[in-house]
Amino acid sequence: MGMIRIISRSFPLTLLPLTARAEWTLNLSPGVTEISRSIYDLHMTIFWICVAIGCVVFGIMFWSIFHHRKSRGAKAHHFHEHTLVEVIWTLIPLGILVAMAVPATATLVKMYDPKDAGLDVQVTGYQWKWRYQYLDQDLDFFSNLATPREQVSNEQAKSENYLLEVDRHLVLPTDTKIRFLLTANDVIHSWWVPALAVKKDAIPGFINEAWTQIDEPGIYRGQCAELCGKDHGFMPIVVEAVPPEEFQQWLADAKAEKAAAAEAANRSWTLDELMQRGEQVYLSSCAACHQASGEGLPPAFPALKNSPIAVGDVGAHIDIVLNGKSGTAMQAFRDQLDPVELAAVITYERNAWGNSTGEAVSPTQIADRLGAAAEGEGN
């Protein structure tokens, strides 16, 4: 597949791969929920109604074009109004619209009923990633684009799910009513998974509701649908639907993993270890703005290479990474990354691209900082 794609890219008129995916490429997907299927049915109904009206109207028009042309000797008739005809062609469309409005209303009413959900997931849009919080489950993580930047810049062949792959899937149980609570941290985003027919804006300061109940296990991919800045096209959504028992297992594993990560913060880390880990974290969480080269995109996204923050006082550096900088695009990463990741990425920024401070920031240092801040808030 990958090979075919590359060949078809280099020969613009080779449209062969088209036929293999015709259905998915040409039309809405019927999806995997009751709602998505009713929406698909509504879509097809209104589509065929339009096709039928089009055939009649354009048919008469083209009949006139062929038969009533001057070159065939057609003489113009003189009629220019007919009340009965005009009333009829006002009432018929009205009737069609009423007939269409009834099932549309029924589907919409169902979509607006998020009652009795078995699982609540809060979805928060960030520039340019999604955060998923399983409410009442003490599980909370960010989901970032996993496609390597080299594929975007055409230095590497593109993978099958190019731009539609993330580092952590949103895992959901099938056959369970799931309620989404949507909000945003900065600008307006919109959470959309076509196979679930869920699209709802994530708006800062507001909480929107949506729900789904997935019938079939599988991986369903979507994207942010509302322009949210530079990397709007680079914040995909991946939902992994698994049977409920498997979901419980996944939940337990995810919590255990989280505990292990907290444990790892307590051991000591060498500079090399931190640099290695830090590079991974930097590429997934920081490079979108500050660039892999550390040179940024000034003035909106300043350089880190030789910057006063990255080679200056370590306390100030930790502070800005943890708490962000208000009024700019710099987010607070205290909740996005764990102490090991925070320590690693700060260490990396202080020692990469010729920033040779030689300083290693340890995870315990970060944990202490976070602990002290939490205590401060407690008081």
Partner: protein
């Protein structure tokens, strides 16, 4: 309608002829800077609009070139967003709207038998502030942080808290464009209501004049709302208010309500004059009176009134309450009724006519077919539950480009081809016109039809790079865009050639044409109807 007394041109008395010699156009640049002549100002608007159309078109081609293949090839995502934003703003405010005002300036006085616009000095001013507005808007491309990059709909807080510094220039430019539009609209209303020739009653007005009268009221109603919303942005950015900032107690969704209260009528501002133009052209080349004149007027007025009641159909996914969704869904579906009436009337006008297919008629027929396709996708988008799947995808991009490009833009081209012999005194070069038409027709469909497919397949709008399953149709769309874009050079060439030379046109120009504008010489004298004609 019969015209009993035609003045202007050859029929003027010797005394009036003498006067005309002294009131010809001034010489040099001063003619254009200080002109109060509706024909000069009409030409200025039209040339300006052409320049903006080409500027916005270059941006569209940059967008399509980047989207030719997956991956980033030509531009950075940040610059891509600046291109989509500027393309939209320039096409809406710089190309389509000024073109219609230019046509109104040229034709309305000649169609109603008036000597000029009612407020000629304001007319000069409403044109001449436009180049400043657009110079300011385009200059943001060279500023630190770049041009506006938040889409032509500039949703807060992306356009306020998170905007580049150039947003303030954008706000000022919008204010000037709004002032220009309001002045233009006031002028058009004053002209139509006060300066009709004796006997030219309201229900005898050519439909182009009727549709512009209704459009002008829409402009006066909604341009101040646009000015209001950008002023609220300005306050949020510079004066510490929080209209749209949730952290300060504001509401980002309020922005969208205010914007679309302007934005939806704006859509009709860009299409009602097109309806008027098509209603002039189809009867001419069908050699038959327009079918259902009165129902055309009522349908246009109904569309205008309904346009104030449907704004939130752009916002079905923001979390409106169920009742709100239902109200806006029903109101939106209702618009299909008067719009359908118009299409049926055009087809009924052609039915049993005596048709010929000169360039203006070709564009008009293409308008009816392709605008109707845009109308169909509009009807689909009105179905709120399904809109959750369509919203903010390429399906929407396909929809509004179908109503704006082969809709509004084709109607403008049809109008230019239709009235050009009257303006320049030279018959049209039909071969070039038809070549331009067919290339545009094929190009436009290759560009925008596949966008329906990639939208339904799940591609969001306003993204610089996309997943591999969208690749084939994006490539097709890009090829179409280049065909369409470059064929517009034929239009430019054709118009310039026609201005310079060509076979002498008669005052009638087209065999089946009716109306006062066809009673004056071609080219129309600098002053027409100094003495009003009498219309029976």
């Amino acid at each position: 309608m019969a015209i009993s007394d035609t003045t202007g041109g050859m029929d003027t008395t010797a005394g009036e002829l003498h006067e005309e010699h002294h009131h010809g156009p001034a010489k040099g640049i001063g003619r254009w800077l200080f002109t109060t002549n509706h024909k000069d100002i009409g030409s200025l608007y039209l040339w300006f609009s052409l320049l903006m159309f080409l500027t916005g078109g270059v941006m569209a081609l940059l967008i399509r070139a980047e989207l030719f293949q997956p991956g980033l090839q030509l531009v950075e995502p940040g610059f891509f967003n600046q291109m989509t934003t500027m393309h939209g703003l320039i096409m809406v405010f710089g190309a389509v709207m000024p073109a219609f005002v230019g046509l109104a300036n040229w034709m309305i006085p000649m169609m109603i038998g008036a000597p000029d616009m009612a407020l000629p000095r304001m007319n000069n001013w409403s044109f001449w502030i436009l180049p400043f507005a657009f110079a300011m808007l385009v200059s943001t491309l060279f500023m630190d942080g770049g041009a506006p990059n938040f889409g032509w709909t500039f949703y807060a807080p992306l356009s306020t808290t998170y905007a580049p510094p150039s947003v303030t220039y954008f706000i000022f430019a919008i204010h000037i464009m709004g002032a220009s539009s309001i002045m233009g609209a006031i002028n058009i209303i004053a002209t139509i209501l006060n300066m009709r020739a004796p006997g030219m009653t309201m229900m005898k007005l050519p439909l182009f004049v009727w549709s512009w009268l209704i459009t002008a009221f829409l402009l006066i109603a909604v341009m101040p709302v646009l000015a209001g919303v950008v002023t609220m942005m300005l306050m949020d950015i510079h004066f510490g208010t929080s209209f749209f900032n949730a952290a300060g107690g504001g509401d980002p969704v309020l922005f969208q309500h205010v914007f679309w209260f302007f934005g939806h009528p704006e859509v009709y501002i860009m299409i009602l004059p097109a309806f008027g133009i098509i209603s002039q052209i189809i009867p001419t080349f069908s050699r038959k009176k327009l079918f259902g004149y009165a129902s055309m007027v009522y349908a246009t007025a109904s569309i205008a009134i309904l346009s104030f009641l449907v704004w939130a159909h752009h916002m079905f996914t923001v979390g409106l309450p169920l009742v709100g969704e239902l109200f806006f869904m029903f109101a939106t579906m209702l618009i299909a009724v008067p719009t359908g009436v118009k299409v049926f009337n055009w087809v009924a006008t052609m039915f049993r006519g005596s048709l010929t297919f000169e360039t203006p008629m070709l564009f008009a027929i293409a308008f009816v077919v392709l605008f109707t396709i845009g109308g169909f996708s509009g009807l689909m988008l009105a179905i709120a539950p399904v809109d959750f799947q369509y919203h903010d995808t390429y399906f929407v991009v396909a929809h509004f480009h179908y109503v704006l490009v082969p809709g509004a833009i084709f109607s403008i081209m049809a109008a230019v081809y239709y009235w050009l012999p009257k303006w320049t005194g030279h018959q049209l070069n039909e071969t070039m016109g038809k070549l331009h038409f067919w290339l545009s027709f094929v190009g436009v469909n290759i560009t925008f039809f596949p966008m329906h497919f990639i939208g339904l397949a799940g591609m969001p709008r306003r993204i610089p790079d996309y997943a591999l399953q969208f690749a084939d149709f994006n490539m097709v769309a890009s090829i179409g865009a280049f065909i369409f874009g470059f064929s517009q050079l034929l239009f430019v060439w054709n118009v310039i050639q026609n201005v310079r030379s060509g076979e002498k046109a008669t005052s009638q120009v087209w065999e089946g044409a009716e109306g006062l504008e066809w009673t004056v010489d071609s080219p129309a004298p600098y002053h027409t109807f100094s003495t009003p004609p009498k219309v029976d």
